[in-house]
């Protein structure tokens, strides 16, 4: 049986390598650039995992029954909870269901793939080292993608300015990162109990050892990547030639993604704090590493993240379907525009002249205008909230939809106040202590500065949202969502709670709107159409309602992916739509659903009592809640 397993895993590795080679020949890595390997390895590892999990499902019942007795009977396999604190302290990344067999297969497959790639690369290196001219060979193949895969630009090969050493270094680096990634993914999600149930593991390769290795790999990955990004950021280092920009983008994305991995894998306490800091560093480094275009896309993405987080309070936490969320975004943007652009309506300039202020200079800078924009948006939220207090469900959606349109039409038609369709031009840029940001960071472009601001704001908003959600206000919101009448009879002040949700959500939209106005420089009423609301709502749903991490992923998928897919040009919208459809079939609750949604969308008989302490938003809760864990597994087994 063991022999069978090994054969299977090696086969899987070969298949994976074949797939990778095919992708190379088709030319995908050439478009994505040199960071292809870690990304592809991650994807491949995920595919393995899905595949193995399906295999596991076919033989669930007999295997589990046997497993529960077999684990006790076998001498090498007495793994109680107290024997393995390492795995118990970590929060599983992927749901249960991975068995030891799967672990083993994934590992072997990942290693095989990595090894094969390393061999191929060293053949190339050897060829270059021996003076063989590679380029004609590659030309006959598909345009130099193999070179791109291991991180050397076609130009460099053409000019033969590639030293075998650096080539080898990069090959090893990427192969290593790929193996690390595969290792982390396949082992990261495993639960020791599941591994212990399967008696198919080789004796000398114990589950705790594999798990520990996988955990360490997962922890090491972001550090390695970050170090590499830092290296890239050093002056004079240009590793990837024409692909430089893309590589940097992907590297930072992979670094933060693996940082999230590591965060889940790390033990609470010091280890987790270190990983969090590294993760934060990785994210904060992005604006400095990316080029102008990427920064501008990411800036927009994170403006949408801000909106998504705000809308999530209204829709996800309080359960009030708001389709007119763009209204507050517009209010924030126009408030800042009024305060900082040279244009001002006759009304305002007359007022200013009365007050002896020159109407031509901006009234307030970005930072002074921030509280004003937030406050105006919050007031807008309350003004919308009051009339819809008694409305529920569809009716609420329609009224809010109307409100969003009213604000847009107001901006469009109140020409004297808002300059109508001509918009407000030359909105001033956010400064840093009165200086342009370029004065401080030579590295940071103006778009990078917007992105950085959006990042920081998103982080602040996320913290506020998570904390509010885990406080008594969050419980009141959720109770209200579950049963409004009972919530009121239990002591929740409905009016206050609803208005707070609207006001807080609107405040964040106002912040986002202000940053958006600064980013756009010129704003027009058409910027604030219904589609902004729909996008904001869609990114929450795609990402997972109620889950801040999901919202970031949703925004990346919805606002970022179409830009990344520009390489595929005319097919990009089709590809994007297909991705969305697949997503909704595979993960109907969103990419990273909050634990509560999972409760709702999975049939109750399929699962035992779910524990609510494994989601990202629950991280701040007291560890006491984790006592629930034993309720999951053992009781279910006894029942069967």
């Amino acid at each position: 049986m063991r022999h069978d397993t090994v054969t299977r895993s090696v086969k899987t590795g070969l298949v994976a390598f074949a797939c990778l080679s095919y992708l190379i020949l088709v030319g995908i890595p050439g478009r994505i650039g040199g960071a292809a390997l870690p990304s592809l390895a991650l994807i491949a590892a995920l595919v393995f995992w899905f595949n193995f999990r399906r295999n596991e499902d076919f033989r669930t019942v007999p295997e589990r029954d046997r497993g529960s007795t077999g684990a006790e009977g076998k001498p090498g396999w007495q793994i109680g909870t107290n024997h393995a604190p390492a795995a118990n302290d970590t929060v599983p990344l992927l749901p249960a269901g991975i068995s030891g067999l799967n672990l083993h297969l994934g590992l072997a497959a990942g290693a095989t793939t990595g090894l094969l790639i390393a061999i191929c690369s060293s053949v190339i290196v050897a060829a270059i080292g021996n003076g063989v001219s590679i380029q004609p060979v590659f030309d006959k193949m598909v345009p130099l993608n193999v070179a791109a895969l291991v991180g050397v630009s076609p130009g460099q090969i053409a000019q033969a300015d590639v030293s075998p050493f650096r080539y080898l270094l990069q090959t090893v680096y990427f192969a290593g990162a790929g193996i690390l990634a595969a290792l982390a993914v396949t082992t990261g999600g495993a639960r020791l109990t599941d591994a212990a149930r399967s008696d198919r593991l080789p004796v000398n390769l114990s589950a705790p050892k594999i798990l520990a290795a996988g955990r360490l790999a997962g922890l090491a990955l972001p550090i390695v990547l970050l170090a590499f990004i830092v290296l890239l950021g050093l002056p004079g280092v240009s590793a990837f030639g024409s692909n430089e920009g893309t590589v940097r983008l992907l590297l930072t994305l992979v670094a933060t993604g693996s940082g999230l991995f590591a965060h889940r894998l790390s033990r609470p306490g010091r280890e987790r704090r270190i990983v969090t800091v590294l993760l934060g560093l990785g994210v904060l480094m992005m604006p400095f590493v990316l080029d102008q275009f990427q920064n501008s896309v990411m800036g927009l993405v994170f403006i949408y993240v801000m909106m998504g987080l705000g809308l999530n309070i209204v829709v996800g936490y309080a359960g009030l379907l708001d389709l007119g969320y763009v209204a507050f975004f517009a209010i924030g943007a126009y408030t800042y525009a009024f305060l900082s652009a040279p244009f001002s309506s006759p009304y305002i300039s007359n007022l200013l002249l009365l007050l002896n202020i020159s109407p031509d200079s901006p009234l307030l800078g970005y930072w002074m205008a921030l509280p004003v924009a937030m406050l105006t948006a919050a007031i807008g939220g309350i003004l919308l909230g009051i009339p819809v207090l008694r409305l529920r469900g569809d009716y609420l959606a329609i009224v809010t939809l109307g409100f969003g349109e009213i604000i847009r039409l107001f901006m469009l038609n109140m020409g004297e106040l808002t300059n109508g369709p001509r918009g407000i031009l030359e909105i001033s840029q956010p400064s840093l202590f009165g200086f342009a940001p370029e004065a401080f960071f030579g590295l940071l472009s103006s778009q990078g500065w917007t992105f950085l601001l959006a990042l920081i704001s998103s982080a602040l908003i996320a913290i506020v949202a998570i904390r509010l959600n885990s406080s008594r206000l969050g419980r009141a919101w959720f109770a209200m969502q579950e049963d409004e009448d009972v919530a009121e009879a239990t002591g929740v002040h409905l009016v206050r709670t609803k208005l707070l949700a609207f006001a807080i959500g609107a405040t964040f939209a106002g912040m986002a709107g202000q940053l958006y106005a600064a980013r756009q420089i010129n704003i027009f009423p058409e910027n604030f159409s219904l589609f902004v609301s729909i996008d904001a709502l869609a990114l929450i749903i795609v990402g997972g309602i109620g889950s801040p991490a999901g919202i970031v992923l949703g925004a990346l998928a919805l606002k970022g992916l179409p830009e990344v897919l520009r390489g595929v040009d005319e097919y990009r919208i089709v590809a994007f739509a297909a991705l969305l459809v697949i997503m909704m079939i595979v993960r109907p609750a969103g990419i990273l659903p909050s634990p509560r949604r999972r409760v709702q969308l999975t049939a109750p008989e399929e699962q035992g009592p779910p524990e609510l302490s494994d989601g990202a938003e629950e991280d701040f809760r007291e560890p006491l809640e984790k006592k629930a864990a034993p309720l999951n597994g053992p009781e279910k087994d006894e029942a069967q």
Binding site: V464, R467, L468, S470, S471, R472, L473, R475, A476, F478, A479, E482, D483, D485, V486, A487, E488, A489, T490, G491, V492, H493, L494, L500, R596, V599, Q600, P604, G608, P609, P610, E611, L612, S613, E622, L624, E625, K627, A628, L631
Partner: protein, 266 residues
């Protein structure tokens, strides 16, 4: 014993139907009282009037010396009246402990700013709330279940959880709407014991609607009977049991003529 709750002439009309018709009631402090009556007699409607879900057209409801009429449900809860529901209405996707924490909502005072800043005071309050929530779960017999999502609890436990949630607001008067409905005899006994302990250990006055006559007769100190929205009888269980009008309401006029008091006791 003074009257904790006194209801005078309360009338609630839905369209042409007078669901509660000029009802007078007094609930003594630290008593266990029952409200019985055939289906559709207006018992739950009366509860809804007491807790502010309905506003009575007429009449006065005085709790602890102050009128409850016209107050919002949450204000009434604040005054110290809590309730459970006939058809269980828990916050389904929340865990047992979270349900109880929502019950405590009114008694938690930390501001939302302190929640954002996670001040020491807020954390201490949250911690205390969790502790007392756990303690309440233990009190009703749900120890160890705090992290179970409430829809996944067995039926009887869901009823117990409703009691725990109601206790979260530290009520002085607890209205139980058919606490033993659908329970097996063992669960019913547990519920009855709980009702006694509520009064004896928590100083909560209990007013309950119940159809199970065994429960009503054995735990209540006074029983009121509603029929077609009108109060038709009141008194100790023994008195009510032998009241001709009650028997008529439950079993129809012919049986009442036979005067079988035992029929009600069944």
């Amino acid at each position: 014993m003074t009257a904790l709750l006194s209801i005078q002439g309360v009338t609630k009309v839905f369209g042409g139907l007078t669901a509660v018709d000029n009802v007078d009631l007094e609930i003594a402090e630290l008593s266990i009282s029952s409200l019985i009556g055939p289906n559709g007699a207006g018992k739950t409607t009366l509860f809804n009037c007491l807790t502010g879900l309905h506003r009575p057209e007429n009449g006065e409801i005085v709790f602890d010396g102050r009128s409850l009429v016209g107050l919002r449900p949450d204000e009434i809860t604040e005054r110290g009246v809590a309730r459970t529901y006939q058809n269980i209405r828990l916050f389904g996707r929340m865990t047992a402990l979270e349900n109880v924490l929502v019950g405590q909502h009114l008694r938690l005072k930390s501001s939302h700013w302190s929640a954002i800043l996670r001040t020491a005071g807020q954390r201490a309050e949250e911690h205390a709330a969790r502790e007392s929530g756990r303690e309440l779960l233990e009190f009703v017999g749900l120890e160890g279940q705090e992290n179970v999502v409430s829809t996944n609890l067995p039926y009887g436990d869901q009823r117990l959880l409703e009691v725990a949630r109601a206790l979260g607001s530290r009520p002085r008067l607890l209205l139980l709407d058919e606490p033993a409905a659908g329970m097996n005899p063992r669960e019913t006994d547990r519920m009855m014991e709980l009702v006694h302990r509520l009064r004896d250990e928590r100083d909560v006055t209990v007013f309950l609607i119940e159809h199970d006559m065994k429960v009503v007769m054995s735990i209540s100190e006074s029983v009121s009977v509603l029929d077609y929205g009108k109060k038709i009888a009141e008194g100790t269980p023994m008195e009510v049991r032998s009241d001709a009008r009650v028997i008529e309401a439950y079993l129809g006029p012919e049986v009442a003529v036979q005067g079988s008091a035992e029929a009600v006791g069944k």
